[in-house]
């Protein structure tokens, strides 16, 4: 892409300018967490310097200013994912907390013994364990739709697993271990045909594509700020208003109440019903800054650039003898998971780190995916808006060289 502002983007990320072990840092662990632009870093500093106070409680100027900025971030998120109302945007710690919240509120209210929850075989642990916990408490049953050797959901079998007992479908939008992008529109249509709500785990999808929750018609969409160029400790639960209204509250405390007496309390309306206690004020505002940064470049533009980068890296990787790409789905985001014959991913990770390249080596919180492909772990290079083809070239050269060294 000739007019992609890569030089400007790279200049916005101060951390990228450093050397690691005397080599230029090449950061390819973006699926774990990505780096922050100066706009986000400055936002945090400035907020503490100028605007900080607790929100929703003071009549004083600072409290009002902090409240306005916090609520502005909610509107920024709403527009970013095209939610109908800001009431549908609940701030949480991250994707993990969002899924647990849904399991503990929607789940406990709607899912009983013998009911089924349907997920896929490529889920992150955070979209498996909360449901196992709910199943253990309620006697519900977790059903898992299988994947094929390319790492794609076997859609026909998924559809067959939707039954009269299914009370929730919860699937990953884009897999962190494989890069596969699920046919979510088709999934949602099939589930809705039987009146089953659908939760999408958007933790990986959100930084790589433009998301429109109304066009998708999903019932819940969750993601974490730290994979979207914002700080860790802040995330989003989107839920359709009618569903959120029916759901019981999650945690009790300040901010989530309307009135409290020792006999009874009444709860605040949406979204505050789910935001008990003083929230992560500053990082929420910084999430808004991260989204403003992304929209100034354009999610479509970023998606196109990253897609080109993935194709380039894939083509180069395929030319390496003894390299096996794990996850070759037709619809795929900017993740290259691989193994090398006779070289363990941890050795790959240490070797690449010694030349300044940060990748992830491990099970990527997706042990069932590792079991399916019969590997203990994979090496994973995951790309972000600031990576370049030149970095891919260095990665490929280093992989080739480490194969030679291992002999």
């Amino acid at each position: 892409m000739t007019n992609y502002p890569i030089a400007k983007i790279r200049a916005d990320f101060p951390i990228l300018k450093q050397k690691i072990r005397n080599k230029d840092l090449i950061y390819l662990d973006n699926a774990a967490s990505c780096q922050k632009p100066i706009q986000v870093i400055d936002c945090i500093g400035n907020f503490y310097k100028q605007d900080y106070a607790n929100i929703h409680r003071g009549v004083h100027t600072l409290s009002q200013r902090a409240t306005d900025k916090y609520e502005q971030a909610r509107h920024t998120v709403q527009e970013f994912i095209n939610a109908k109302s800001a009431k549908e945007i609940v701030f949480v710690r991250g994707a993990t907390e969002a899924i647990n919240l849904i399991a503990q509120t929607f789940g406990k209210a709607n899912i009983a013994a013998g009911d089924e929850i349907l997920i896929t075989a490529m889920e992150h642990h955070s979209n498996i364990v909360p449901w196992q916990m709910l199943c253990a408490e309620t006697g519900a049953i977790l059903k898992v739709a299988p994947i094929n050797q390319q790492g794609e959901l076997i859609y026909a079998q998924f559809e067959e697993l939707i039954s009269a007992k299914t009370k929730l479908v919860s699937v990953v939008h884009m897999s962190n271990a494989l890069g596969s992008i699920n046919p979510v529109k088709q999934i949602i249509a099939a589930a809705h045909a039987k009146n089953i709500p659908v939760l999408l785990d958007g933790a990986q999808a959100i930084p790589h594509m433009s998301i429109d929750v109304q066009a998708l018609d999903c019932d819940f969409y969750v993601f974490s700020g730290h994979k979207l160029y914002a700080p860790s400790g802040i995330g989003v639960l989107y839920g359709k208003q009618e569903l959120l209204e029916q759901m019981p509250a999650y945690q009790g405390g300040g901010d989530m109440i309307r009135t409290v007496s020792f006999e009874t309390s009444t709860y605040a309306g949406l979204p505050y019903k789910f935001e008990a206690g003083t929230p992560n004020i500053v990082d929420t505002v910084a999430l808004g800054a991260a989204i403003d940064y992304l929209t100034s470049i354009g999610m479509e533009t970023i998606a196109a650039y990253e897609h080109e980068l993935l194709l380039y890296a894939t083509e180069k990787a395929q030319q390496i003898n003894g390299l096996n790409i794990i996850g070759t789905a037709k619809e795929k985001g900017a993740i290259l998971s691989f193994t090398l014959d006779n070289i363990h991913p941890h050795d790959i990770g240490t070797m690449l780190d010694s030349v300044g390249i940060a990748i992830r080596a491990g099970h990527h919180c997706a042990m069932p995916v590792m079991d399916f492909f019969d590997v203990p772990a994979t090496a994973r290079a995951s790309f972000a808006m600031y990576n370049t083809k030149a970095e891919v070239d260095v990665l490929i050269e280093a992989i080739q060289e480490l194969i030679n060294v291992f002999g």
């Binding site: 072990r21 070289i343 363990h344 991913p345 941890h346 050795d347 240490t350 070797m351 010694s354 030349v355 080596a361 491990g362 099970h363 590792m370 590997v375 203990p376 772990a377 280093a398 060289e401 480490l402 060294v405 291992f406 002999g407």
Partner: protein, 150 residues
């Protein structure tokens, strides 16, 4: 390209990784314990034959990274003929070497195991080197038939 790693990946380590020693099953082993490092998926099964308190045979099965494979390959060789007390003492010395607790490498005590001293500069890899030894420790103390390092 990988000059910085010479201390970590010595030729001996590559050699043991390519051709692990004592890589076999001992039928009717006196002790059989599985060691697992969930972080990297390294998994090994350690087999021991004991004659009173002497380790007369040791072997392993499983797969792991070069560091953990070399470590268990070397360990199963070096403990053969040692008493349980000697093996436990070696574990302590080895542990202190790989974690950097003991700065001087006790060459006399650790012998060939000195090639693994390089991991002390790589905190994320120390567990790779010590998995075999934690498994041995569990086997000698009869504390269950699987251990997990975390």
């Amino acid at each position: 390209m990988f000059e910085d790693l010479r201390d970590l990946y010595q030729e001996v380590i590559f050699d043991h990784n390519r051709n692990p020693r004592n890589f076999r099953v001992i039928e009717n082993a006196d002790r059989k314990v599985e060691g697992f490092n969930p972080l990297c998926g390294d998994r090994l099964t350690l087999f021991l034959t004991l004659d009173h308190d002497v380790i007369t045979d040791a072997s392993f099965q499983g797969s792991g990274c070069a560091i953990s494979t070399a470590s268990v390959s070397l360990m199963t060789g070096i403990i053969q003929g040692k008493t349980i007390a000697e093996a436990e003492k070696l574990f302590t010395t080895f542990h202190d070497m790989t974690t950097g607790k003991e700065e001087e490498i006790q060459l006399e005590a650790v012998g060939k195991l000195a090639v693994l001293a390089g991991v002390r500069e790589f905190p994320a890899r120390v567990k790779c080197a010590t998995l075999a030894w934690h498994t041995l420790d569990a086997a000698l103390n009869n504390s269950g038939n699987s251990i997990s390092t975390e």
